[in-house]
Amino acid sequence: MKQDHFRNRPARRTALAGALAVGAILCLPAPARAAGHGEYGPLEIKGSEQQLMKSTAGYEDQFVRRSYRYGSADLDAAITRIGLLLAPKPTDPYIRYRFHVLRDIEPNAFSLPDGQVYVNTGLLAVLENEAQLAAVLGHEVQHTAGHHGILTYRSTRRKLITGSLLGPFTLGISDIFLINSLYGYSRDLEEEADRLGAQKMTRAGYDPRQIPKVFAILMRDPEGESPDFKTFWSTHPALQSRIDYTRAMIPGLTVGVNPDGLKVNAQGFRRLVRRASLDTVQDLVGADYGRTAIDLAKRLVAENGGDPACQIALGDARVALGARAMLGAEGDLTNRDKWKNLKTRVRYTRSERQEQLLETPEGQKNLRKNLEEARQSYQRALAIDPNAAEAHRGLGYVYKGMNRPFDAGREFVTYLKASPQAPDKPVILSELKEINTKIKKGGKGT
């Protein structure tokens, strides 16, 4: 035993030395890693990066092929106008800025190394004003201008080569440091884009006090399904940290400027994104994110109380919430609860989740409450516009859920008569068939 231990000692020493060396290199503080800074001058594309650029160009076509583009000329024009105001002059022939909106419920935006910048409808729907959109676009164009994508590719490649050479000697321990280094590098670039974007948007006349508000919006978690995880494992700095450092930047950015004279433009922006916000509510309903849909729909109602479409959206969101309840304050849920919620969504289908909830008295109570509130929203829509056909469709579903088949059928028929070419006509006819069968069988509620 002792002999074996002795014999293995040189190998262990090598492994230990290797681990320490890798650890020492990769654990150096960020500035000493000589990483995390963009290149804002021209940057030549090297051999293996050709494929990266080729794929990048391919995404533009792929997003069209896959029906991801939202296709609103007004929105595309608006974000192009703001984006070009903030984008630095391209330093390379392969950079050409173009801005598009994607139909996606996730509140996110991203940019590609060749100048493609995309903003999701899910983000436009939750932003409050044009200055916040400028904060997002200012950040994204800095990624392209600083060649962050290409530099990340290079850094990753270099580190993976080092990792694959040293890995066997360090018994895989170096992989942890490798991940730390890769993510750390990415976080550095994100922070750089935040800081430079903030400077740029202020110079363009936008109020930088809106930047921390964007991160606060992104921190919202109405579904209780976004558990916190250590920054160590993240490509982006923690949102709270982004709020803190951008807030700390504001006094420096507004030196010699009257902050109240800077552009915010809340009204014009919200008017611009109204259609996209309504579509996002429908997409959230379709994706079974009822709580988020209700939050957004309530805001739309507050902004346009006299618009029946907003009342209908709120009704639809309430129906989608089904047997669930809105969550209380953020602090009410532990991280474990959030993981559990997420796991439930991943593991079970929608109908299974609904059935599980309906087995409990709370679930049944929630369903009744949500249906009643949905009914009120649809009634309000009809009070504003008696010809709002979609409100009748919504009421049909509400009464179906309340087990009132005659009322449900009456509303569905009204909807079909008011809107004979409705795209969901076959769906409603199928609902009517079901109702007729139920009435003929003489079940409860008939």
């Binding site: 494929q51 391919g58 896959r66 296709g71 996730e106 590719y153 490649r157 009517l432």
Partner: protein
């Protein structure tokens, strides 16, 4: 791709789905090819099996594993998508079905089609990630795509929709050499075609088919038609001929056996409503 916040960009593969595909592929990678098929009793019995099928533009993920990095072959994946759709059309027609390929151009031209296709794809992916883990549950009609499929089928005047997902992974020569020296198994270059068939009456995923074919990087890039043809053939191996009727003695009552006569539901309802009103003296 640098995004504003830490999250999945649109178009990127969903982590759960990718993990599930990778796991399944690892498990079957020893085989040169395989075919899997799961169908509801209604689909087997030809009751809920669509005879006129619309094929949505397939989504392909093509990854090239290099010695150190992996490359997303985005432009090359477009060729795989086109060929997968063509192969599916040819082979389903050979089995006696009427097939209509929906092209991206047609989708962008037709009013209202674009968001519908996007929604249905998103909904399908939500179910697909679960279906990968428990494909046998297809037989119990566990997976449904809801109203979007019904609306789409009504718009296209078809009985069902086929949704195709392609995954292609190619190992470069450098990767192959590394694997050889690491004494690992042979480099895996493969193409996998997954097909979900949704009916127009209830939006249920009535059939789920999967085909896997070992191939090479050269073939994937230069002969996508051949590779997609082979993988699709495997996927459709268990897909019944259009006239074929298989009766499954299922103890569980099939959810897809609902009555679905055409009739006039509006007229029927009004008759029932009048009867009720007469009874109550209105």
């Amino acid at each position: 791709m640098k995004s504003f916040r830490a999250s999945r960009p649109p178009g990127a593969p969903r982590p759960v789905a990718v993990a599930a595909v990778t796991l399944v592929v690892c498990l079957v990678s020893a085989a040169a090819a395989y075919a899997r098929g799961y169908m509801t009793p209604g689909f087997l019995a030809r009751k809920s099996r669509p005879m006129r099928v619309a094929v949505l533009p397939p989504h392909a993920e093509f990854i090239k594993e290099k010695a150190i990095m992996t490359d997303q072959m985005v432009q090359e994946s477009a060729a795989l998508e086109n060929e997968a759709a063509q192969a599916l059309k040819t082979q389903l027609e050979a089995k006696g079905y009427k097939v209509r390929i929906l092209t991206p151009q047609e989708i962008s031209r037709t009013a209202g089609l674009n968001p519908l296709v996007k929604k249905l794809n998103d909904r399908y992916e939500e179910e697909w990630s679960k279906m990968m883990y428990k494909p046998k549950k297809v037989r119990e009609s566990r997976y449904t795509t809801g109203d979007d499929a019904l609306r789409l089928c009504a718009l296209l005047k078809v009985d069902g929709v086929a949704i195709v997902r392609v995954q292609a992974v190619a190992a470069s020569k450098g990767k192959a050499v590394l694997r050889y020296f690491a004494n690992s198994s042979a480099p895996h270059t493969y193409a996998r075609v997954d097909l979900g068939v949704i009916d127009a009456r209830q939006g249920i995923i009535q059939g789920y088919f999967s085909g896997y074919e070992n191939t090479s990087l050269g073939q994937l890039v230069k002969k996508p038609a051949l590779v997609m043809g082979q993988a699709t053939e495997h996927a459709l191996k268990k897909y019944p001929e259009s006239a074929e009727v298989r009766v499954v003695e299922e103890a569980v009552a099939s959810a897809d056996d609902k009555e679905n006569g055409e009739g006039d539901p509006v007229g029927d309802f009004e008759v029932l409503l009048n009867k009720k009103n007469q009874k109550s003296g209105h």
